[in-house]
Amino acid sequence: MDDLVAIERFTGLYDRYRNRVYAYAVSRAGRQLADEVVSEVFMAAWRRLDELPGDPLPWLLVTARNVIGSEFRATARQESLAAELSLWGSAVAPDIADEVSERQAVLRALAALPEADRELLTLSAWHGLSPRDAASVAGCSVATYFVRLHRARRRLERALAGSPESRRPHEMASQQERQP
């Protein structure tokens, strides 16, 4: 491929997918490392430009996943992710509105889950991947993906049920249901 053609193609790829790779990187490694992850992923994409699949997003996210796992010290990654997760749970005061409170409760419950659960849930809910693509990124078969996602959903529901903020809306709903 001619260099200038490759650059144009790469620029298009970058403009289209950088936000999605960034979002995945933030959710897996926190903002402090996300920029570097994005850079590494697209450097890899540049070098494999001729071989990228027609829908490159799963490839880009798999690369991001592997970069996160191999390029950073575990402590740095954990600290960055911990900072991110703590922000998810504390960005807004919990008593502003029930809707906000519930959103915070969901994020706190998500933050309390094992990393593998968090990834499966967010691949679908936040990153918009189809089950096949999500399974590809998670490194498992589609069937396994559904089983693991089901379990992750159950654990998220249990974590949410244990959250003080989440009880209020649910309890209110239950009280309303009991009213004649």
Binding site: A23, S27, V67, L87, S124
Partner: protein
């Protein structure tokens, strides 16, 4: 409501990058211009060395981490747009004279690097991109002191971005205490003064920043020289100055690039480097300054008369 719907609605805004990403894109393109030998791109493989602009990385990291530290919601437009502000490129090498063996020259350069650890490092980076990436064209002026800080030592960094569009010009000063080795890669408390020419404002703040000084590019150059990337050497002239020229060729995934470094034969310190690949040219002019009061003054951001102080870093115009 289904738990997955709740989760979808709870998606945090922090997953979306701010406009400063354009600046990072410039770093990325720079990395593309200089593929490194031995780099692989299989998912999961270590990608090895990097050639991103340290100054831009400092700024980009500073802003994002500053946001993390409590000024979330405000962003800084750091994108460089417009036509390139070109600098004269090194003249074509004249019929050169062979000099000492690359090995001997390499050792002399590495020895010279060791002798300037207490100096002020200056690097002026000129970036020229083809096609649609030309919006990243521009010049960065970077100063850092000391070049090789010791743990506990105060580090001063200044970075001036001079894109063709005057409204995008910025001047940033960072001061922090060099962390100990184990914490070198982690964010550290940093005093930041940020001057934006577009809206004629300046701000000062303290934020957690994972720092990498502009002098890190010198370390990368040192590593390239130490690992023998530069194999050809000859004497030539650069802007009227006699210099030694070393060239490295890289080929990765069928794409070729070249990096040339011109070295002062008296000091064996780099005068200029030019990376050229895929139509992207990155030129760096180097300076090594003794820490005199006059030179130290260059490390301070300049706040022009009439600029308004703002409480936090403000969004650009």
């Amino acid at each position: 409501m289904d738990i997955m719907d709740l989760l979808t609605q709870a998606r945090p805004g922090s997953l979306d990058p701010g406009p400063e990403t354009d600046r990072r894109a410039s770093d990325l393109a720079k990395a593309i211009a200089t593929p490194r030998a031995g780099m692989t791109a299989q998912p999961g493989a270590s990608l090895g060395g990097r050639w991103a602009s340290p100054s831009a990385r400092v700024i980009a990291t500073g802003i994002s981490v500053a946001a993390l530290a409590g000024i979330a919601g405000v962003v800084v437009a750091l994108s460089a747009t417009g036509t390139p502000a070109t600098r004269p490129h090194p003249p074509a090498a004249r019929a050169g004279t062979a000099v000492a063996t690359p090995g001997a020259l390499r050792n002399a350069i590495l020895t010279a690097f060791n002798g300037v650890g207490g100096d002020i490092f200056y690097a002026e980076i000129t970036e020229i991109y083809p096609g649609t990436m030309s919006r990243w064209n521009g010049i960065q002026q970077n100063w850092s002191y000391p070049i090789q800080p010791q743990a506990g030592q105060r580090v001063h960094v200044r970075s001036v971005l001079v894109p063709s569009n005057p409204s995008d010009k910025s001047d940033t000063e960072y001061i922090y205490t060099e962390p100990s080795g184990a914490k070198a890669a982690l964010p550290t408390n940093t005093e930041i003064i940020f001057v934006q020419y577009g809206n004629r404002t300046w701000s000062d703040t303290t934020a957690l920043v994972a720092t990498q000084t502009p002098a890190a590019s010198l370390q990368e150059l040192r590593e390239s020289i130490a690992t023998g990337d530069f194999t050809a050497a000859r004497k030539t002239e650069l802007n009227g100055q006699t210099v030694l020229e070393l060239t490295a060729h890289y080929k990765d995934a069928g794409k070729e690039s070249e990096q040339t470094v011109w070295v002062d034969p008296a000091t064996y310190l780099p005068v200029q480097t030019l990376s050229d690949g895929g139509g992207i040219k990155i030129q760096v002019d180097y300076g090594f300054l003794p820490p005199t009061p006059a030179n130290m003054a260059e490390l301070k951001a300049t706040i022009p008369p009439g600029f308004t102080r703002t409480a936090t870093i403000q969004k650009g115009p």
